[in-house]
């Protein structure tokens, strides 16, 4: 799961709403259009009742879509959801690069 606190990394930060959205979208994406809510809950490390609220929000924002298969809803990521993920990870990359990367020059290499 994407929780950095759980990963034990230094400088771990608390998961914010956008982190949770990204976590859920990435897990849903793995199932290629056939993500059931229980499986997503295991993958995202989130109880189903809390996940249901979050997924309702993602559906309302157009980042997820769902359809009924055999009477049960299955979920898939939308192009807008993928756009959110691309932007989210790019921004995380910048933030970690700016805050986390050691300054090579400080090591006296130059």
């Amino acid at each position: 799961m994407i929780s950095e606190r759980a990963s034990g990394e230094p400088n771990a930060r608390r998961r914010e709403a956008t982190d949770l959205y990204a976590t859920v979208l990435e897990v849903v994406k793995r199932y290629h259009g056939a993500a059931r809510i229980t499986r997503v809950s295991y993958g995202a490390g989130m109880p189903v009742d809390r996940l249901r609220l979050l997924m309702d929000r993602l559906l309302a924002l157009g980042l997820l879509q769902s359809e009924d298969v055999d009477g049960r809803p299955v979920f898939d990521i939308t192009p807008r959801g993928q756009e959110f993920l691309d932007t989210y990870w790019k921004m995380r990359g910048f933030v970690e690069g700016l805050e986390g990367a050691p300054d090579r020059r400080a090591g006296g290499r130059r």
């Binding site: 799961m1 994407i2 990963s7 990204a22 976590t23 979208l25 990435e26 897990v27 849903v28 994406k29 793995r30 199932y31 229980t38 499986r39 997503v40 295991y42 993958g43 995202a44 490390g45 993920l85 691309d86 989210y88 990870w89 790019k90 921004m91 995380r92 990359g93 910048f94 970690e96 690069g97 700016l98 990367a101 090579r104 290499r109 130059r110």
Partner: protein
């Protein structure tokens, strides 16, 4: 064929079972040597198996099944709303676990799908591995594909494809076809790969070699990096040497050693190369800094060129109000309005209005109005518009002195 039923809470010794074995919760199975079940093992609730178990199919639901020994399943393993832990070796064809799969020993499967977490303390051989959440393995993994929604921590890898939504940390090895990661990728040891796409941050701590590398945010390579093409949205920092065909960087790019390109280099912001830079063409929006730069084609720089030994190219164009520190050696060198340079060598040198140069050595020279040059040496033509200042009289010579680089 006779089935066997183990009631809830009981402890039973099992040897050979001709039919199916049905086990209720809180029961313990003690294997007599190896518990061999010809049919299916079905566990409901939490069950302990002490010893080795072999069966055709294995199913469990609503609980944790702990095999304190080896588990060998000819066909399929399926756990519904539950966990499976195998302390010894594990072999099966297809594995589908809802919540968590823990493997203590070496495992060989064709496909494994886990909804939550897959944790392995030894090796894993598989065709396909799919995990919804977290996947960690202490030993070597050999597989066609590994896919995970959350994060992955692996040591030595031998894969065709690796696709992860969140974060990946690998020791080293080979991913022959493609690595695709949404968030962050890091590797400790040498790694080779085909295509590489990371949305956020990528860090190679050992040597890395691949084909097409795309990073949305930041790339850091602690040692050498080899590639066909390198595209970074934000910043790139390579501590060792870098070699490849093309590079495209949105922001800043720095190389601690040499940068050798057979194709183009495009940088939106700044590039810094501690040693030699070679390329077919260069386009830099901001600043280019290198010990020396040798370019077979053209160079366009919007801001500053700073070299110690110089920059050599077929065509060099400096943008308006730009600055060059170190010699410029071209076939054709063009300074746009208000640009400043030190020594400029070329077959043709053109300075737009209000440019400044210390020394120009060229066959043909054209200076637009209000340019200032300290020294001019030429063999062919010298055209100067009004308001040009040349501090010492231009020298027309039969042969130009040798150019640097």
């Amino acid at each position: 064929m006779s089935d066997m039923h183990v009631p809830r809470g009981s402890s039973v010794r099992v040897g050979a079972v001709d039919g199916d074995l049905e086990v209720e919760g809180r029961a313990t199975i003690e294997a007599e040597g190896v518990a061999r079940v010809q049919g299916e093992v079905r566990c409901t609730g939490s069950v302990d198996v002490v010893g080795n178990l072999e069966c055709r199919e294995f199913r469990s639901e609503h609980g944790k099944v702990h095999i304190q020994g080896n588990l060998t399943v000819a066909d399929r393993v399926a756990t519904d709303e539950g966990e499976l832990e195998v302390s010894g070796t594990f072999a099966a064809r297809d594995v589908d676990v809802d919540r968590r799969l823990v493997l203590g020993g070496p495992a060989t499967v064709e496909t494994v799908e886990v909804g939550g977490r897959l944790e392995g303390a030894s090796t894993l051989r598989a065709k396909e591995v799919s995990v919804g959440g977290h996947f960690t393995l202490a030993g070597k993994i050999e597989a066609h594909s590994v896919e995970a929604g959350g994060s992955v921590e692996l040591h030595e890898v031998s894969l065709d494809d690796l696709e992860v939504g969140g974060m990946v940390h690998v020791g080293g090895g080979a991913v022959r076809h493609r690595i695709e990661v949404g968030g962050k990728f890091s590797s400790d040891e040498p790694i080779t790969f085909g295509d590489f796409s990371v949305g956020g941050w990528a860090e190679f701590r050992g040597h890395a070699s691949g084909q097409k590398i795309e990073v949305g945010g930041v790339l850091s390579a602690r040692q050498d990096l080899a590639f066909a093409s390198l595209e970074i949205g934000g910043m790139g920092d390579i501590h060792g040497n870098a070699a490849g065909r093309d590079v495209e960087i949105g922001g800043k790019f720095s190389v601690g050693g040499r940068l050798e390109l057979t194709g183009s280099l495009e940088v939106g912001g700044m590039i810094s190369v501690e040693r030699e830079l070679t390329a077919a063409s260069i386009e830099v929006g901001g600043k280019l800094r290198a010990e020396r730069a040798i370019v077979s084609g053209s160079v366009e720089v919007g801001g500053t060129i700073q070299t110690n030994a110089g920059l050599k190219a077929r065509v060099i164009e400096l943008g308006p109000r730009s600055r060059a520190v170190g010699p410029l050696v071209g076939g054709r060198v063009v300074l746009s309005r208000g640009a400043r340079a030190e020594d400029v060598f070329g077959s043709t040198v053109e300075l737009d209005r209000k440019c400044e140069a210390r020394r120009i050595v060229a066959e043909n020279i054209r200076l637009r109005e209000s340019c200032t040059v300290e020294q001019i040496v030429f063999t062919g033509s010298l055209v100067m518009e009004s308001g040009v200042t040349v501090r010492s009289p231009p020298q027309k010579v039969a042969t130009l002195p040798p150019f640097p680089l």
